[in-house]
Symmetry: C2
Subunit: 218 residues, 2 copies
Amino acid sequence: MTLTLFGYWRAAAPYRVRIGLNLKGLAYDQSPVNLLKGEQRQGPYLDLNPQGLTPALALSGDGGDGVVLTQSLAILEWLDETYPDAPLLPADPLGRARVRAMAMTVACDIHPLNNVRVTGELAARGQDEPARRAWMARWLAEGFTALETAIAAHGGTYAYGDAPSLADICIVPQVYGARRFEIDLSPYPTLVAAADRAADHPAFAAAHPSLQPDAADA
Amino acid sequence: MTLTLFGYWRAAAPYRVRIGLNLKGLAYDQSPVNLLKGEQRQGPYLDLNPQGLTPALALSGDGGDGVVLTQSLAILEWLDETYPDAPLLPADPLGRARVRAMAMTVACDIHPLNNVRVTGELAARGQDEPARRAWMARWLAEGFTALETAIAAHGGTYAYGDAPSLADICIVPQVYGARRFEIDLSPYPTLVAAADRAADHPAFAAAHPSLQPDAADA
């Protein structure tokens, strides 16, 4: 099966899927969607993903022709079910629940509040750059405070135990984004240490925004 | 195992978990957390869930003592793995990916933008009631537009095929919330018809906010 990832080099959600694909050892093509030019809301991409958000993963060959998967966590769960080697979740239901809760703390309660469509809406409502940064910092702080406690309780080399998981897949891109926006990460030393160890893993390192084909367009 | 759900009668995310518990035919206790009084950010509850959001599901007995699960979708996936009868997801990976994407369109890209901590922050930034309603309507419209297309393609009696799933579990509470805030649902006839059929299912009907023990506190 051929996999084509539609995403944007600097966006958190496609970054997650790149990490997952790399952890699974899967080859994939990339088709850049420039969020700053609004390509996610224009014809060709919107036909693939009517929600107008990235990422999307298009399948072809081996019965996958014409199938387009959306929502980064749904794509990652599909990857884990379809390619079970190098699992993204622990084997036991309780561990899986804890890892998914960590991932969703980022993917539901931090990232969707801070992405470009939302900060754009805030700007349109007269919220200036410092006000927008304070907005982003608030949701990050609430989520990372909870994650700091969870990682202190359940973390090891990585956010949950000693294998990289869906939790690290969500946390590493969020830490990258927080640093980009100069949000203070000093209250979360356990989280940041685990994220930095994960970022050094080859699958994470190869997914870094700076190494993607469209990074040169910046 | 004894299950205790911490939630608030009118909140969307605990409503999802009630539906899931009912679909599984599981008995559970409820421990109300009054969001309007800020109980989610006070000692007893914050000790259970440091993120200060609802729901949380506390386990006791049968080796579950002291375990508290958080994040509604992580709880629902745990329920589905632990009690496999009456599955919340289709059997095939592609179907599972589509249902999870529908669920996450609500749980990641609509609900977290419109919940009480966010509308409270907007109010603190001088956004009046009509401005806050326009904010909520925008994110709902973007998500429901995508869901209308997905349900037209893959829906049957319910949002995905002819069995209730995680998609309906997320969509029904969001439709309830949209009606409460008088958001126009006429552009989404396929979605609304499927949601109304799901809402009539006994497991969904028994989870309705108006039937919960803390509804009388309103």
